[in-house]
């Protein structure tokens, strides 16, 4: 059985890593294109078909490699694999001949990094995959070759390199303190080290670049919109979560309660979730709106990270919520991004259907009942409930979450608004449509069969919130709709005059 | 002041005169003569000085004989060179400009 998992994990990482070899021959462009969706499949199987707990030792790798799987990683791996798979299908239809090979090469490398970092347990290979993802991601960002893309790429790269260096320094310090190369040994060592704050600052900032922490987020609204649509989807859906995963596996959560850091993260999360929404609604282009939405959503997750820092007892519970939320957000955001590249069909009914499909993941994001969003929001609410949390600022969490929910829907509405102005009528390539449909399907349906864990947080049946919860979910949405309507009306009036 | 010492002193004076001539005079033949004068002075010293202390000594006399032979050989060579030099450049001293300055390719 171990052998099966070992082969699978090597395949999961190796397949996308070796895939660029296909680009060597100019004649293989078709193969290159059509094998894109296949690349994440081993990882998908790995996430779905194997039980967490296995590990694979690779003593020859770097400073001694160890790859393993636990519940947390499994969800991240699942998210990554699924999102990349649907984005891959979408990409088959989306991509033109313009530098196809180049795109595929970077696609494969980025994917390899993204998958690899979720299974890597030793610092060396984790950092390697992280860096691989970061640098190869540059290729996806600047792919279009426009001046804007170049600019976005430059900002992306500068910030990414700064982030990488912070991570490197942080990991170095931590692993020297732990005298171990294994990530699992780092948090306790950091907790006890006299240089704890320095290490934490480096790691928080380093991964924060990827996770779009406020003030470290500048690259995100620039890079996500200019990348080709499937790339934006994985950037915003999966890769942004790598930063989150980085925090979760390196920072000391269960070992020590850090009220100060919790407060800091809380502040950052609050600024992120609200501030990004304020900036986001001012954006003109749908993908930019979505990028800000990602920052905003990450802000909510940062809230939970902050709470987990502050209360070490509660951290394990919050971890599963964070994972759940990440999964939900990744899938929904991926679908939304993919929608941005669609063309509307001509018929009125079909048009409405498409719009509905576009809208549903968005509303899911906002916490529409019966969607993954509702579950995630409720779990989060429960996880951050004031009475169960030993955190001085616990009382602010609930209003912040509510504000976040309002902000989320406002951004989604703004996205629909801008999207309606840009979507064109025409036929979609079949693969593109298939990818898009699958993304939405996964986000809305398949989600429910995924192995997330909300034991003790949400009452069953999971998909059906209790009435009081229902109200808690709905009133921020109503508020947001009202605000949006008000704004719309106000602009009309202003414009009329 | 013994006679041998006197010889030696005379030799020293001749040396001085010869040295002066060798350095000061520019005409090559004069230089050559000055050399010979200086040589004679040295020979005088060579013969005179030892006899001043130890009486008759045959060794210096043998040496001087050899020395004279050497001096004659040197003088002969010098004369040949000076003659040929004059022949080629028309100069009798080393200070003037010779006909060809740079060494021509061999």
């Amino acid at each position: 059985m171990i052998a099966f998992e070992s082969v699978l994990v090597l395949l999961a990482v190796g397949l996308p890593l070796l895939y660029p070899i296909l680009a060597l021959r100019a004649g293989w462009a078709r193969v290159l294109r059509y094998s894109m969706p296949v690349l994440p499949l081993p990882a998908l199987v790995l996430a779905l078909a194997t039980e967490p707990g296995w590990q694979l030792e690779l003593p020859w790798l770097l400073n001694g490699g160890l790859w393993a799987m636990d519940e947390l990683r499994r969800l991240f791996l699942l998210l990554t694999a699924v999102l990349w798979a649907v984005a891959g299908i979408y990409a088959v239809g989306y991509l033109g001949a313009h530098y196809l090979q180049r795109f595929c090469v970077f696609w494969g490398l980025t994917l390899a990094g993204n998958i690899g970092l979720t299974v890597a347990v030793d610092a060396g290979s984790f950092y390697s995959f992280f860096a691989l993802m970061t640098f190869a991601g540059y290729g996806l960002v600047v792919h279009e070759g426009t001046a804007e893309a170049s600019h976005a790429g430059r900002v992306y790269l500068v910030m990414a390199v700064l982030g990488e260096m912070a991570i490197l320094a942080g990991l170095l310090l931590a692993s020297a303190a732990a005298d171990s190369q294994m990530l699992s040994d780092l948090p306790p060592a950091i907790a006890e080290s006299p240089r704890r704050d320095l290490m934490m600052a480096l790691l928080v900032a380093g991964f924060g670049v990827k996770a779009g922490l406020p003030l470290l987020h500048f690259w995100l609204p620039l890079a996500h919109p200019v990348a080709p649509t499937p790339a934006s989807a994985v950037l915003s859906g999966a890769m942004i979560k790598a930063g989150l995963l980085g925090w979760l596996v390196t920072l000391p959560f269960g070992d020590i309660a850090l009220q100060g850091w919790g407060t800091l993260m809380l502040g950052a999360g609050a600024v992120g979730s609200i501030g990004a929404a304020v900036l986001g609604v001012c954006q003109q282009r749908p993908k930019a709106v979505l990028a800000y939405s990602s920052i905003s959503q990450m802000g909510l997750m940062v809230l939970m990270v902050g709470a987990a820092m502050a209360d070490s007892e509660r951290a394990p519970v919050l971890f599963s919520v964070i994972a759940l939320y990440a999964l939900h957000h990744g899938l929904a955001k991926g679908s939304l991004f993919l929608s941005a590249g669609m063309s509307l069909p001509a018929g009125r009914i079909r048009r409405a259907a498409v719009w509905l499909l576009i809208a549903l993941p968005g509303l899911s994001l906002a916490g529409l009942p019966f969607t993954s969003g509702a579950l995630a929001k409720l779990a989060m609410k429960e996880g951050l409930a004031e009475d169960k949390l030993d955190f001085a600022l616990g009382g602010y969490l609930s209003p912040l979450m509510t504000a976040g929910a309002v902000a989320t829907l406002l951004l989604v509405l703004r996205y629909f608004w801008t999207l309606s102005g840009t979507l064109q009528t025409g036929r979609n390539p079949p693969m593109l449509a298939a990818g898009w449909l699958m993304a939405i399907g996964v986000s809305l349906m398949a989600f429910w069969w995924m192995p997330w864990e909300v034991e003790g947080l949400v009452k069953s049946p999971l998909w059906l919130p209790a009435p009081y919860q229902l109200w808690a979910l709905i009133w921020p949405m109503l508020l947001a709709v009202a605000l949006a309507g008000l704004t719309l009306w106000a602009t009309r009036v202003v414009r009329h005059r | 002041m013994t006679a041998p010492l006197l010889y030696a002193l005379a030799g020293a004076i001749l040396c001085g005169i010869g040295l002066f001539g060798l350095l000061w005079l520019s005409h090559l033949l004069r230089k050559l003569v000055a050399f010979n004068i200086m040589g004679s002075g040295v020979f005088l010293v060579l013969v005179g000085l030892p006899q001043h202390q130890g009486g008759q000594d045959p060794v210096p006399q043998a040496l001087v004989l050899t020395g004279i032979v050497v001096a004659i050989a040197a003088t002969a060579l010098a004369v040949v060179l000076i003659r040929r030099y004059y022949h080629l450049s028309g100069l009798t001293s080393l200070t003037g400009e010779p006909a060809s300055r740079e060494g021509a390719p061999e």
């Binding site: - | 040396c15 080629l88 100069l91 060494g103």
Partner: protein, 489 residues
């Protein structure tokens, strides 16, 4: 056995000198090459004999000193004899091909060559001061003759200058000898030392030493008495320049060094020793600087000789009132310097001759692009240059190493600066030549190719100069052989 060797060593050159007087150049060449073989074998035999049995005194024809000619055969002397054989035979072979046989006066080359060789052997082996004088004069006169073989007015002018300087130096030396003999009643250095053992040092005997050393310094072209050397060495035919620079100047230095080592301690003083060292240093710096400024190739090499000779005079301060081991190091260093400079400079002049043959000009600028056509001679030149720069593993380096050790060991660190600066300056002038040859210029692409044998000879010499460093221990060990003091006067 030894008898035959000694006889061969001294009489072959003289006999061949007379023999070649009777022939023309081409026949002289054949005769000479035979003689060279004999001479090399004899030198080698003597060297082997001495390295096996140690040194000895040898009364020529059974006559004892002071009237007879007594030879002092020790490790150092046979080393120089062998060196002479090597360099002179190389120059002889080179000259046989290099020198134009059609010029009538060139037939005198061979007799002069042999007289020179016999004079050199006489100096290396000479036991008393007067015989050394005779040997020196023999060397000087034949050397002047060789310079004059150039035939042009400039060559005669240079040779006349050389002659006058040499004669003046000889007379100064002879005057010193006269004073010594007058003072101590002996002509052998060992005799003087012996006398001094149970007498106080007489006043004024320093003057004798000073006169001799000055005279010899003039013949060795120590700064500031060096002015005669560059024209003479520069204008002579290349094999002649090689002989002069490699061996002739060394002969007078050899005598000066022997005088100083034996008599310097009792008769000299610290100021004089330092002064000589200072002059040597000045020669190193000034000679190198002038070498750098010359536009004619052979002048560069000639001025380089002035600089290299400067090193030799560091012997004086480095052996005066220092510990035994430091003195030993200094002597070994100087010996190596003499040998390596002889080999390297001979190689350099011969290679320079080839380059001049090839480009048809003596100018450094004319070398442009020659590296493509004459890499072999150029390489020899460079290898010789390595030794002059005293870079490892050359003999020059071994010499410099020992001198450095001696300077540091005696606390006279200022010579260290001279040694290091000198090395850098010599690199500067050697690489100036190289630079010129590496310059690519498409205009002058026609070069004359000298025959292979001309190219091989400097290469062999240069390789020996380089290899000397690797075997310097063996070479020096022969010098340090015990000396049988049986014939002590």
């Amino acid at each position: 056995m030894t008898l035959w060797l000694m006889a061969g060593l001294l009489f072959t050159p003289l006999a061949w000198a007379v023999l070649t007087l009777l022939t023309d150049f081409a026949w002289g060449r054949v005769v000479t090459w035979g003689g060279i073989v004999v001479q090399v074998l004899v030198s080698l035999g003597l060297w082997l004999a001495v390295s096996r049995d140690g040194g000895f005194y040898y009364g020529l024809g059974g006559w004892e000193a002071p009237l007879g000619i007594e030879l002092r055969v020790d490790g150092l002397a046979v080393t120089f004899v062998l060196l002479t054989a090597v360099v002179a035979s190389a120059c002889g072979f080179h000259a046989g091909v290099y020198i134009d046989p059609d010029k009538p006066w060139h037939r005198y080359f061979w007799p002069l060559f042999w007289f020179l060789w016999s004079g050199l052997n006489a100096v290396w082996l000479g036991g008393d001061l007067f015989n050394l004088y005779v040997g020196l004069e023999l060397i000087s006169l034949s050397a002047v003759g060789l310079v004059a073989l150039g035939g042009k007015a400039a060559a005669l002018r240079a040779s006349l200058r050389y002659l006058l300087a040499a004669l003046l130096g000889s007379l100064a030396y002879l005057l010193g000898v006269a004073l010594i003999y007058g003072q101590f009643g002996t002509l052998s250095i060992a005799g003087v030392v012996f006398w001094l053992e149970d007498h106080p040092v007489p006043a004024g005997s320093g003057l004798a030493l000073a006169l001799m050393v000055t005279g010899l310094a003039l013949k060795t072209a120590l700064f500031p008495l060096h002015r005669w050397l560059p024209p003479a060495h520069g204008i002579a035919q290349s094999p002649v320049s090689a002989l002069l620079s490699a061996l002739v100047v060394k002969a007078s230095f050899y005598i000066a060094a022997r005088l100083w080592l034996e008599l310097g301690e009792p008769l000299g003083n610290l100021a004089a020793a330092q002064l000589v060292g200072l002059l040597g240093s000045a020669a190193v710096v000034w000679g190198s600087w002038l070498a750098l400024r010359q536009s004619a190739l052979k002048q560069v090499v000639a001025y380089s000789s002035v600089a290299q000779i400067g090193y030799l005079f560091l012997l004086f301060p480095l052996t005066y009132s220092v510990s035994e081991s430091v003195s030993q190091q200094a002597q070994q260093g100087i010996t190596l310097q003499v040998i390596s400079h002889a080999l390297a400079k001979a190689a350099m002049f011969l290679a320079a001759g080839n380059l001049i043959l090839s480009t048809g000009s003596n100018r450094v600028d004319a070398l442009t692009g020659v590296s493509r056509f004459l890499p072999f001679s150029l390489f020899s030149f460079g290898l010789a240059g390595v030794s002059l720069m005293s870079l490892p593993p050359s003999g020059g380096f071994a010499a410099k190493w020992l001198l450095l050790q001696a300077s540091l060991g005696s606390g006279q660190w200022w010579w260290v600066l001279v040694l290091l600066t000198g090395g850098l300056l010599s690199a500067a002038y050697v690489f100036r030549i190289y630079r010129a040859s590496f310059l690519e210029n498409s205009e002058t692409d026609e070069f004359y190719h000298p025959s292979r044998s001309l190219e091989v000879i400097p290469m062999v010499l240069a390789l020996m100069a380089i290899g000397l460093g690797m075997v310097s221990e063996e070479v020096l060990s022969v010098m340090a052989l015990p000396f049988e003091e049986e014939g002590s006067p």
